[in-house]
Point group: C2
Chain length 341, copies 2
DNA sequence: CTGAAAGCGCTTACAG
DNA sequence: CTGAAAGCGCTTACAG
């Protein structure tokens, strides 16, 4: 029976001896139906194996229970945590996640926003504050809650949740200097189409300049998100600037790759070279020596983004446009200990 | 204009001076429309900011471009790679991913299958071959392509893509023995509601028994997916069975956590203790000493799953029900080298 | 507490 | 090459 064409509300209604609208009521407002009727309908749903057709329901009610989300990539715990935060919060509220991966391409992001919007989601979550103008117009015109994530330094289209990449990097550089660093290199993710990465280097540069240290392009490198790149860029940096006494990496994966490279080369960390990362992935605390890094709240970003959308949908007008989840400097063993501050 | 109610096909039609059906044609069969007309419609789409309403389109055509997917969790590169494989392949074909995370709960999986099916996806991907009976009936009754993943040891509902967890673990144990191991411990993920984990221990047990080594429960531990658990269970194992000369971990995260613990405790790897993992995450090759492990094709599982569904949807009847992507034993530095085989 | 009617925004044959 | 009609499976007021 269900093989060819799945049961419709009408089929359930016939089995239960009621009208389709009563079946709809049992599903959405069970208390508005007489007990006996409800029981009969529920039984009919069971026997027919009825699974409500939400695409019809969505068209009729003009609302879906779908939330769209766009991340650069899923591979790397970084955004994976945010996605888990989203699915956990959304799932509990009966919403579902329509996910897209942009591959760090703004053009692809625009394309995906269009595709997602075609599904008429109740809300949408994107990564970063940087988008193509076309994407921004689409988002504004959609008339749904929009949450940008992972960045609070800028003007959100609607709402944003994250932290200041600039301030976080600035703070880490200050800490490194307080611990004795005098020549700090920086290796970060490519800044093209990535405002978070751009603001991280900017934070580094600003802090270095402010503290009167050398701020030279020869101290700054870009590397893709991989352990191998961390090792490679460390070699490059050491080759050009053997005088660095600390290297700050824009993410933990790069930092850890560099740390392993030091172990291979016999470079003592932090005695010969201090290393700091960014993200505080689980590995950072587990490796020996444990990595000094910046802790940010990846899972919470996802959860909060979901909450902000859901609140809006409930008509809550008190939801703030900007939620700064902050960051923490976590000093572990790859940077020198000692009284600073 | 778009703020309150977004443009409809009818609005575009009016602006272009044609009927709605012509707008639909321009979108779906552009070659069946006169050049001049097409240009006018395209311009009208642009000026109205029209984004097609696929929920209406799906209801009318009785087909969506949505593929559902269920994974245990996204946090851990393990399933993240599979998700990237899915979004990459799906995105290129104009399909979108509706994602759910079960948290390793079969009951939650059933609930999510129901919710996803309500969106009338064109196909669905689930993890593993183990499901609640209710989930299986739902999946069978849906009348859409279903791909189970990460396991080929069993009877798929429809199609499956992955590898033999049993054989892979069996093979690794054989290799460890060939390298001189005589007392092998095993630490794997909890086997409850996880057929892959269950078949991994089973593979270990079968190999150990077949090779005439000790197969004792005192050699087998379970640990959650974390570096900390790997370290903890290694300590437990060493406390009960200080005579083990090798430990095989059911995933790389556990293995790596144990490796770091060895480094902290001054246990030499592989001289004092050999360590092997499972998954071949990027870190396995990057860490020092590099981890011996089983390479499996996580990204390909996602890509193939998407392809199998898409082929079916295209009416291809030659698509195999079972795709075994295999595995490879990758020997690196945490197990003794030497001529074996 | 329950039902008949209209309509959501598209697509699918079918005409012409 | 283009359009009028019907219908997809629901929900939303509105009656009673």
């Amino acid at each position: 029976m269900d093989q060819h064409s799945p049961a419709r509300m009408e089929d359930v209604a016939q089995v239960a001896g009621v009208s389709a609208i009563t079946v709809s009521r049992v599903i959405h407002h069970p208390d508005k139906v007489a007990d006996a009727t409800r029981e009969r309908v529920l039984k009919a749903i069971e026997t027919t194996g009825y699974v409500p057709n939400r695409v019809a329901g969505s068209l009729a009610s003009n609302q879906t229970r779908i939330i769209g989300a766009l991340v650069p990539t899923v591979t790397n715990s970084i955004f994976a945590d945010t996605i888990d935060g989203l699915t956990d919060e959304l799932g509990a509220q009966g919403y579902q996640l329509l996910l897209g991966a942009t591959g760090y391409s703004l053009a692809e992001e625009t394309r995906l926003i269009n595709a997602i919007l075609a599904q008429r989601p109740a809300g949408i979550v994107v990564t970063g504050l940087q988008h193509e103008p076309a994407a921004e117009s689409l988002l504004r015109a959609a008339g749904i809650p929009v949450v940008e994530t992972w960045n609070v330094d800028g003007q959100p289209i609607d709402m944003t949740v994250g932290f200041s990449n600039f301030n976080a990097c600035h703070a880490m550089v200050e800490r490194l200097v307080a611990r004795g660093a005098r020549c700090i290199g920086y290796v970060g993710a490519p800044t093209l189409a990535n405002d978070r990465a751009a603001q991280r280097v900017a934070g580094y540069r600003a802090a270095v300049a402010k503290l009167g240290l050398e701020a030279s392009d020869s101290l700054v490198f870009e590397g893709k998100f991989s352990f191998a790149a961390g090792a490679g860029r460390l070699r490059d940096l050491l080759a050009t600037r053997p005088d660095v006494d600390a290297v700050f990496f824009g993410n933990d994966i790069l930092a850890l790759g560099a740390l392993f490279e030091c172990q291979r080369q016999g470079i003592r960390v932090p005695a010969d070279l201090a290393i700091a990362g960014f993200d505080d992935v689980e590995l950072a605390a587990s490796v020996a020596p444990a990595l000094t890094t910046v802790r940010i709240h990846r899972y919470e970003i996802g959860r909060q983004a979901a909450r902000m959308i859901l609140e809006r949908l409930r008509g809550d007008t008190t939801t703030p446009d900007l939620t700064d989840l902050g960051f923490e400097i976590i000093e572990r063993e790859t940077t020198p200990a000692g009284r600073a501050d």
